[in-house]
């Protein structure tokens, strides 16, 4: 027989709903629906089932008594559930991780309600200093976030890492988001004539223009990371075994391992400078197989850098 998780899931919610009602005496169904984030019908179903639960010998005074007075509900004979169940490790982790992450956002109040809540939580869990979150703090995060809130157009000096080029762009900032530890600015770029996602740590300067823009219509601001560099070229590399990190670090089209331990890796490359970096990091054992006019990318870049050392 397979386990039926629905019963356990419902029990999990009920073990939180009962103490919620107990602490308040009388509560409306609408309030419960909001506090638990489920439709009123689900709350009603939870409450319908409770009067069949209790303690032996399951006489009326031993069964949970749910009284429904119009919109309002109260509960008796469930004294053993007057407190919520302690947090599970997964629940405690979720609160601490999200809380610590938000507190790490530049501009957060280190002595505000969130910091206080986390301190109380960590004290109760005995979990002081066991979880830390660093989401980076590039110079212009707070400035861009505030500009987005005001819907103020800005001019940014942006280092396009892939192309190794500095550009000035006029953008309508929609918002600033942290994805997997990096800060991104989602914005409409007037030079590109389209929505773009910029790495905030590559923004070298921000100038406020004083002009305001209308909120984007229809679709929401872009949430996915999309490549601000544009088109990509599919490149085939012949890499040594110790360059496995390349496969782990970047999205690849295919990886073929050979008997001698070397790998043939096909991956999309946005710009020549990006590939130069990759080959200089892997070293002399890395070779470009295709396209033919990129075969010398690494050696040419190495010669160019070496010229700086003479």
């Amino acid at each position: 027989m397979s386990p039926r998780p629905q019963a356990a899931d419902r029990l999990r919610r009920v073990l939180a709903i009962v103490p919620y009602i107990a602490a308040r005496g009388v509560v409306s169904i609408a309030e419960l629906s909001e506090a638990f984030g489920v439709p009123e019908a689900e709350i009603e179903a939870d409450l319908d089932i409770l009067p069949f639960c209790g303690l032996p010998p399951y006489t009326p005074d031993r069964l949970i008594d749910v009284s429904l007075d119009g919109e309002f509900v109260s509960i008796r004979f469930a004294e053993y559930w007057s407190r919520p169940l302690r947090l599970t490790p997964a629940e405690g982790f979720a609160l601490l991780a999200a809380g610590r992450a938000l507190l790490a956002v530049p501009g957060s109040d280190p002595e505000g309600p969130l910091a206080n809540a986390l301190a109380k939580l960590e004290a109760a869990l005995g979990a002081q200093e066991v979880l830390e979150v660093d989401i980076g703090e590039p110079d212009h995060v707070d400035e861009l976030r505030r500009a987005a809130e005001r819907r103020e157009q800005v001019e940014i000096e942006y280092w396009s890492f892939g192309r190794d080029a500095m550009t000035t762009r006029t953008v309508d900032p929609y918002g600033v988001h942290n994805l997997r530890g990096h800060w991104y600015l989602a914005a409409f770029c007037h030079q590109a004539g389209d929505d773009r996602l910029f790495r905030v740590d590559r923004v070298q300067a921000v100038r406020l223009t004083g002009d305001h823009f209308a909120p984007p219509t229809g679709s929401e601001a872009p949430h996915d990371v999309f490549d601000p560099e544009g088109e990509t070229t599919l490149v085939t590399l012949d890499l040594p075994a110790d360059a496995r990190w390349v496969v782990e670090a970047y999205p690849t089209e295919s990886v073929t391992e050979r008997k001698d331990g070397r790998m043939e890796v096909r991956l999309p490359v946005a710009a020549r400078a990006w590939l130069e970096r990759l080959i200089l990091a892997v070293g002399a054992e890395a070779r470009v197989v295709d396209p033919a006019d990129w075969v010398d990318v690494g050696s040419e870049a190495a010669s160019r850098v070496l010229a700086r050392y003479r």
Binding site: L11, V14, E91, L131, Y309
Partner: protein, 306 residues
């Protein structure tokens, strides 16, 4: 479903209410819904017990007072959430955090149920952070000061987990590695399989341990080589980015868009990778042997053309 829900709910109530451990027979006698024959009800009870423990209900196994067998109960002191005394504002701040930061597979909503409901404004998404299956257990072990055993890159490791930290998009567990005899960092998402958790209070975190210092450690600091101070000249668009990454304290000289920054290197290979990644915007100035290593590396790559 109603049957199983009722049986589970009654079982929790019964185990919480009892002042002494109850034998399996006593439980089956009190809680309706178990099958009549012993093999079946034992199996059913085992499944129920696992379901309750899966919810975090601390079902303990203790010696029965009279019968010569094991008894079960739930101690209320272990079951109940301690009073947190959160203000409405503090609870709303946690709700904001759970909605603003999307933790992959996170159970923040369920946690808030227990702290008094979801109330407060839903915040716009400010970030998304990944998770890994063993993270809650690692945090739990760190909190209890219990060593953990796990397989990492095919090798068995035993670590005293000092701290769990998120940095550069990844979760790490940092702690004293018993076999290596030093503090090591392991990526939580690369732990293979489950964790073995040892006894509580088996270690203390050393006084000088500073997770913040390790938190900001760069790749060229991950290593046990004797530390070397390196000076690197960076120019062009890369200069501003490098200063942001290293911090303004690392700047030794600044002249327009040309800066000289100081690196403390304990991993020469990682240092070299970083510097050559800046292409012709960076030159290693000192020390001479590190500079020579980079030149030699580049010369080998340049030679590939001929």
């Amino acid at each position: 479903m109603a049957d199983r829900f009722e049986r589970l709910a009654n079982l929790v109530a019964c185990l919480l209410d009892t002042p002494r451990p109850l034998s399996l027979e006593e439980i089956v006698d009190r809680v309706p819904g178990y099958p009549p024959d012993k093999a079946s009800y034992r199996r059913q009870f085992e499944r129920d017990k696992d379901a309750l423990r899966g919810l975090g209900i601390p079902v303990t196994v203790e010696q029965h007072q009279f019968a010569d067998e094991e008894g079960y109960r739930v101690h209320r002191s272990d079951y109940e959430l301690p009073e947190l005394d959160l203000t409405a504002e503090e609870r709303a701040a946690l709700h904001t955090a759970v909605t603003a930061v999307q933790l992959e597979g996170g159970e923040g909503r369920e946690a808030l149920w227990k702290l008094g409901g979801l109330g407060g404004e839903e915040a716009p998404t400010l970030g998304a952070i990944p998770s890994a299956p063993q993270l809650p257990a690692l945090v739990e072990a760190s909190r209890r000061r219990a060593p953990v055993g796990f397989t990492y890159r095919g090798k068995r490791r035993t670590v005293d987990p000092y701290v769990v930290l998120f940095r550069d998009g990844n979760w790490y567990v940092l702690g004293h590695d018993h076999d290596a005899g030093e503090v090591r960092a392991y990526r939580a998402d690369r732990i293979e399989g489950g964790l073995d958790v040892g006894a509580d209070d088996a270690f203390t975190r050393p006084d000088g341990f500073d997770p913040a210092a390790m938190l900001h450690d760069e790749p060229w600091r991950y290593g046990a080589e004797p530390p070397v101070e390196a000076l690197v000249q960076v120019d062009g668009p890369a200069a501003g980015w490098v200063v942001q990454r290293l911090g303004h304290d690392a700047v030794v000289e600044s002249d327009g868009d040309r800066v000289v920054v100081r690196f403390t290197v304990t991993n020469r290979e990682a240092f070299r990778s970083f510097v050559v990644g800046l292409l012709d915007h960076a030159v290693v100035l000192e020390p001479a042997d590190l500079r020579a290593e980079v030149v030699e590396w580049l010369t080998a790559v340049a030679g590939g053309a001929r």
